[in-house]
């Protein structure tokens, strides 16, 4: 929800999602094809700078959004430096793998660039726009319906969760670990019932608007789509030249 809020505030929100996705895909492709870690890292750097300066994501917010991914990358990359082996007695030993350093640099750089490409797209494009793009790409309707409902209900249930949690805390629900654990159980039970009731209510609401099959919506229109695509193409080309692939 935090990423979504940042994307909604992005000045690049109105840019055609196809243009942004095309650029992110090109950058991701460059990172994937690249073998020199420094060059790949420079792709990640360009994408991060664009996310901050272009898409208007504050540095601190960018760091917070990237932190979980970076932590995961760090943890998984470090495992490339060690190996677990058993000796003749069957005891486990951690073996240092010096040759794993190069592999770590390659994979780490690629993963960082891929993360930066993904963040560039989602921090400048709210999910409704991404869903519109996926509709135009003819992604299966049932999958999109599921995504739309999940997106809507995420906010509804988050609000319900906060309301119940506040009500519990107002009655000393968080006074001890035991009370918090019990509160969590009660919230879960309460939300389970709400999910069922909401499903019924939404079905009725859909029926009232003659919706008995797939969810159909008007696709968003981007007046500057042509210009955006041309700019994205030019930027992608510039990125390829800048990184000096094939040089």
């Amino acid at each position: 929800m935090w990423i979504e809020a940042l994307a909604q505030r992005s000045p690049w929100r109105t840019v055609c999602p196809f243009a942004k996705a095309g650029f992110a895909l090109t950058a991701g492709g460059l990172a994937f094809a690249g073998t020199a870690p420094l060059r790949v890292l420079s792709v990640a750097g360009v994408l991060s700078l664009l996310s901050v300066w272009g898409a208007g994501t504050p540095w601190r917010a960018y760091g917070r959004v990237a932190a979980p991914g970076l932590a995961f990358l760090l943890l998984s990359s470090l495992t490339l430096l060690v190996s677990v082996q058993t000796d003749a007695m069957g005891a486990l030993h951690l073996i240092w793998l010096p040759e794993g350093g190069l592999r770590l640099a390659e994979l780490g750089a690629r993963a960082l660039a891929a993360l930066a490409a993904l963040l560039f797209l989602v921090l400048s494009t709210p999910l409704p726009d991404l869903l519109g793009m996926l509709r135009r790409l003819r992604v299966p309707a049932s999958l999109l319906d599921l995504m739309v409902l999940c997106y809507r209900m995420l906010f509804v249930f988050a609000a319900a969760w906060r309301a119940v949690r506040t009500a519990q805390q107002a009655r000393l629900g968080g006074v001890s670990l035991r009370a918090r654990w019990r509160g969590l159980q009660l919230i879960t039970a309460s939300l389970a019932v709400q999910v069922w009731l909401r499903a019924q209510a939404l079905e009725r609401a859909a029926a009232m608007r003659l919706g008995e099959g797939r969810l159909r919506f008007l696709l968003p229109v981007y007046p500057t789509a042509r210009r955006d695509r041309l700019l994205a193409f030019a930027a992608s080309l510039a990125l390829v030249v800048m990184i000096g692939w094939g040089a």
Binding site: V156, M208, P220
Partner: protein
């Protein structure tokens, strides 16, 4: 336009819904359903929308019994729109424009027509500037207006609203009332369930009082002073303006029958002229 004839309905857990309920809504009229919680207001609206089917009795639309086949319900819902009490139970779309387009697209309209209807419906509810905004960022009142726009875009003849004023602050209530005025002026028949007797008295053409699933009284709003006993029997308070008029009359201050406190205050204010501030014996008042 739509009539209930001795409609009876019980929910699956045997809770009473409607009991021998008979009433009708005139085309182009403004109707308010009054009654305590559990009196059957929402159940009545769900029946009017074809979402519930009577166990006994029947509903007539323009003199023809409702057809509960799939095609019949489609035909009904092309003409009757229902706005639910909780907007989060009604909104599907990720953005406002998306959600409003849902109904018109299901009507089988082409994209330009749907777009035109979406723009028109959003203009009516005053949300044109927010067309691309995500639904989750809206206030409760704005969500309610999106719900109404979503139904209006289907251009129904009859609009049903379940507690449209519930959860709205006074400013939003005023906006909602202005919106209802605009819809009514456009010829849409409106039926709404409400607990706000002051609003119902000021706004509606006809009042329908429900108690324990029965429609115990249906009368023109202007005739409410003659039905106070039935209103009180249903646990409803009298409108503030009516109580004030009674109190003024008891003090010998005659006022014409007005249906809102605002109208009465305007009538009694010094700027409204001495002729409007006459006592029972016709004497002007210094400080009404």
């Amino acid at each position: 336009m739509l009539a209930f004839e001795s409609v009876h309905f019980r929910y699956g857990d045997q809770t009473a819904g409607l009991a021998d309920c008979s009433l009708h809504f005139e085309a182009g009229s403004r109707n308010a359903l009054l009654g305590a919680n559990g009196s059957g207001k929402t159940t009545l609206l769900l029946h009017a929308a074809g979402l519930l089917r009577p166990e006994a009795g029947r509903l007539m639309l323009d003199g023809v019994p409702l057809d509960y086949s799939r095609a019949g319900l489609h035909a009904l819902r092309r003409r009757v729109g229902l706005v639910f009490q909780n907007p989060d139970n009604q909104l599907f779309g990720a953005t406002i424009a998306e959600d409003v387009s849902f109904g018109p697209l299901n009507l089988g309209l082409d994209a330009p027509t749907v777009e035109a209807r979406v723009h028109a419906a959003l203009a009516v509810v005053g949300l044109s500037a927010l067309a691309g905004a995500p639904v989750n960022q809206l206030s409760f009142g704005q969500k309610k207006r999106v719900c109404i726009a979503g139904v209006l875009a289907m251009q129904p003849d009859l609009l049903l609203l379940d507690e449209p004023m519930a959860g709205l602050d006074p400013a939003m209530q005023a906006e909602m009332q202005a919106l209802l005025e605009r819809l009514s002026a456009a010829g849409v028949s409106i039926v709404l369930a409400t607990h706000d007797i002051d609003f119902a008295y000021a706004w509606a053409d006809a009042l329908h009082v429900l108690a324990a699933g029965r429609c115990i009284a249906s009368f023109p709003a202007s005739a409410l002073p003659a039905h106070t006993a039935r209103l009180q029997a249903a646990g409803q308070p009298l409108p503030g303006v009516l109580r004030l008029e009674t109190a003024l009359s008891a003090r010998g201050i005659a006022v014409p029958p007005l249906r809102s406190l605002d109208a009465l205050i305007t009538h009694l204010s010094p700027s409204s002229g001495p002729s409007n501030r006459a006592t029972g014996d016709g004497r002007p008042q210094e400080n009404p």
